[in-house]
Symmetry: C2
Subunit: 318 residues, 2 copies
């Protein structure tokens, strides 16, 4: 038994002739190591834990689904499986981490959708579970653990400059109050171009209805907005509906840019310009960093990726 | 050691006093069985294998993402994990089955998107891997293995009868040539209502562009269609675009129904009526049947579920 084990795990310990004989037998018997037996010895399960989020049906749908696919695909290339679980809350997700980790059903964890007051990183750090976050630690020390994120501010800055280039001066931003990331890119671009932001800094929740009503207020103002940079595609699609109701043409009259290049962005007419996150690249970094932590390199790593503006009819004058 | 093992796995073998003492120690030590050690003994890994499909960006997006979430959620309720992998083809998926099964990384497999000449069931049957298919075995003996499917014909029949009820007589069907399931429901409903199908039985691929051009031909015909039942939402969204270009109003002038209640169906104006598959119920049956196979009940089971017509503006006259 030990000889066979050595042939697989430490072939240099065997005499060449013995090794050849064992390998021939392995070939003949079509032997494949049992993952459970191997796990007991190597302490690796060959699986990465990840929480699946419910598909978003609000119009900005598809981003987390694309991320899950990219993560699963990268994990597979690395020879790992992606062990998916659902959870009803952060606390519920932590009870799953606890079971997976105690049973060593996974070697490490990927968390996504990080947010303010997120209890998950604390728990994972405290229990010394190897993990990487997709999303920075909002409101916390950025150096605490590994994370990969997309530079939202760079995306909205590009979107704002693009609308200004199309001749718009009154460019509004629509989004939730927090996080500030995407809004800050718009604000900085407007200031850099010496354009006023007063009366253009608007709040909207991530929904078509909320985007539509915020746009309504901005269009009915004394000095109406002619450009809209939106935190999400759902908000931007709401803006497009309001333009429609006001008899305004998206693109020709008013420029609109969303964020996340969702299914909806390609579906609506005249096509919604949108900022696209490089999810494949993010997933590749996340798996690479997680595997380096499993190999005992424990220094946290941080990667910020630049998103890309995809221009469609909603922001083009001609 | 044997006593502790019995306390967990066969408590009835222990005297009550011994059992109490062991359980107290387990409590005190916060003992959790190592999954690898448990797998070696029970031969169960606690995981179900499933292939993640790339998110569909064509407008009928979201169905397989919703199914994956439902499957993961049901597996969790049953105490199992969902081991996700990507694959580039059926053959590639089979190489993954081979590895997962030989290593016993999963206890069973769920396959989805079954189709004509699907090599996966044959391989799984031949290697005696417990599995359940989401989708019937197209073109093969229905009794060979367990599957859960949605009655597409019942869905399109409901959609056709709904359009006829709204006053439409020239109701067309648009879809790919195979499988015949959804088309057959339309044909039967039209025949049952003694309405002609001639010139209304049209082919379209699963895309907005293909749906748009098929609708164009049907609207320009001598006796144009005023109702459209479509194999997918992407095709139906294409029909809506053509109506728009012809100055026809969806709902008031022409009735349109899609299939799969995708993100797009809720996004387009005036809302696309669509047939919704009960994916949660399907996932629950699949996990239940798979677990029964793991528990050695090997008789194949087949479940056909009835979909539900969701009526929105695109098919309502008022």
């Amino acid at each position: 038994l030990q000889t066979v084990s050595n042939a697989i795990n430490a072939p240099h310990l065997l005499r060449p002739k013995t090794l050849a004989r064992v390998l021939a037998s392995i070939e003949e018997l079509q032997y494949v190591p049992n993952q459970a037996a191997r796990s007991l010895r190597t302490k690796f399960s060959g699986a990465i834990g990840y929480r699946v989020f419910p598909p978003d049906r609000r119009g900005s749908g598809g981003v987390m689904d694309r991320f899950l696919y990219a993560l699963s695909d990268t994990a597979r290339s690395a020879g790992d499986g992606l062990m998916c679980h659902t959870a009803s809350s952060d606390e519920d997700e932590i009870t799953i981490f606890d079971r997976l980790w105690q049973q060593r059903s996974v070697d490490g964890i990927v968390i996504a959708n990080t947010h303010y007051d997120d209890p998950r990183p604390d728990w994972l750090l405290q229990h010394r579970v190897p993990f990487v976050a997709f999303g920075r630690p909002w409101g916390r020390d950025l150096e605490r653990h590994s994370w990969v994120d997309v530079d939202g501010a760079a995306g909205t800055r590009d979107a704002t400059l693009h609308l200004i280039e199309q001749g718009h001066r009154r460019v509004a931003f629509l989004g939730p109050p927090k996080p500030e990331d995407r809004r800050s890119g718009w604000r900085r671009a407007m200031r850099a171009m010496r354009l006023p932001t007063r009366g253009l800094n608007a709040m909207a929740q991530d929904s078509i209805a909320s985007g539509a009503s915020a746009a309504h207020a901005l269009l009915d103002a004394g000095d109406p907005a002619t450009g809209f940079v939106c935190e999400t595609d759902a908000i931007a699609i709401g803006v497009l509906r309001t333009l429609d109701d006001h008899g305004l043409r998206a693109g020709a009259d008013v420029g609109v840019v969303g964020f996340d290049d969702s299914i909806g962005a390609q579906l609506v007419r005249p096509g919604l310009s949108s900022v696209n996150q490089p999810l494949d690249v993010a997933a590749a970094h996340i798996v690479r960093i997680l595997l380096s932590h499993l190999a005992d390199r424990s220094t946290p790593e941080h990667v910020v990726l630049r998103p890309e503006l995809i221009v469609r009819g909603s922001s083009q004058r001609d």
